[in-house]
Every structure is written in structure tokens, then in C-alpha cells.
Symmetry: C2
Subunit: 108 residues, 2 copies
């Protein structure tokens, strides 16, 4: 596997119910991860860009979250319909999608 230009990490963690924390994996994170994989595959962009599901990224209140490296930029409250925008504007266009970024208190 070649080192990708950008690597998208999508939290799909589900906390045990007794923790009482919101969980990316229970509020759409799996759908967001699936949308990234499907769209990158369909557009033949897998390899140039990578998508990986993760355990908890510590930003549970902002979920579902995705973290893009090497920038270390985090997006939150994502819906599958946001994925094409992130691919077009950030991954391909190198312009972070400001309206989807989490606040600096969450990650910054």
C-alpha cells in the first residue's frame, strides 16, 4: 500500500451503554465511513487517499467525527451527504471545509 496523500480516519466506536456517552458508531459514524469508502472506490481514488475506521477519537460530543491527516483537521456532526464535499474540496482541492470543522474547544 502506498502512503496516501491524505488519510481519513472515521470514528465508528460504540461506548458501553453504562458510560452514558454519545458514540460516533451509534449516531451515523459507520454510514459516514461507508460513504467515504464507497465514494473513494467509485472515483478510483483509493490508494491516493486512505480511509480507516477507528476506535474512540475523544470527541464524542461532536460525533460522528472524521480526522484528516497529515493536517490533523477534525470534522464533526457529519452526514453521509457531507462526504462528497470533503472529498472534492479538501482531499482533491486542498481547501478545508470550514462549515464542517469542529470547534477549537473540541479539537485544536
Amino acid at each position: 500500500m502506498a502512503k496516501p496523500e491524505k488519510h481519513v480516519f472515521v470514528c465508528s466506536h460504540i461506548h458501553p451503554p453504562e458510560l452514558g456517552r454519545p458514540s460516533c458508531g451509534a449516531c451515523g459514524g459507520k454510514d459516514v465511513a461507508g460513504a467515504f469508502y464507497q465514494q473513494l472506490k467509485e472515483r478510483e481514488l483509493l490508494g491516493r487517499f486512505a480511509i480507516t475506521r477507528t476506535g474512540c477519537l475523544g470527541a464524542c460530543s461532536a460525533g460522528p467525527v472524521a480526522l484528516v491527516y497529515p493536517e490533523g483537521l477534525m470534522y464533526g456532526k457529519l452526514k453521509p451527504e457531507d462526504v462528497a464535499t470533503i472529498i472534492d474540496e479538501h482531499l482533491l482541492g486542498n481547501q478545508p471545509v470550514e462549515r464542517l470543522k469542529v470547534s477549537a474547544e473540541v479539537w485544536g
Copy 2:
């Protein structure tokens, strides 16, 4: 959560047996992830550095693997006793541990 100086991603994925692929999560990846977490916590380095478990990173033959961003540098065939070296030399000292890096065919 503050954006960390460096973020360590450790694969702990387990493939379905019918795939017949080696799995980081079945050959020590979970112990390596646990060692990172425990040692960063004990040394009060969590926050400055982050550790996250992941799904498959696509380098199954080199497992267990850990990927360090923002460099995008991958280590392989890790054992829990390698973790202190990576923390000391790479995370704190900014010097990648050459002997633990995966080959360029795997990731590069």
C-alpha cells in the same frame, strides 16, 4: 481534546477467518495498543500525544503495525517492548526508529 503533537494509530483489526489473512489484532496489535496507552498515561503524555486503535490499515503482512501522523510513518512487526523506544526516540525525540519501520513496498 487538544490536537496532539503526534497521533499514533495502532491496528487491532481481526479479519474473518475465511479471508486467510494475517490480522494485527490477532498477532499482538491489541497488546501494542495497550502498551502505548499505558505508557503514555503513566508518563503523563496523553494529550500531548494521542493513541487510537483502528480497523485494517492494509499492511497485514507486516503486523502488528502502528502509523504515526503527521509524518505518516509506519512501524511493523511490533512487540510491546518496542513501545518505549518509539515514545522516547520518535514521539519525544523526533527521530524515527529506523529498525522498526516497515519496508517501502509495504508503505511508502
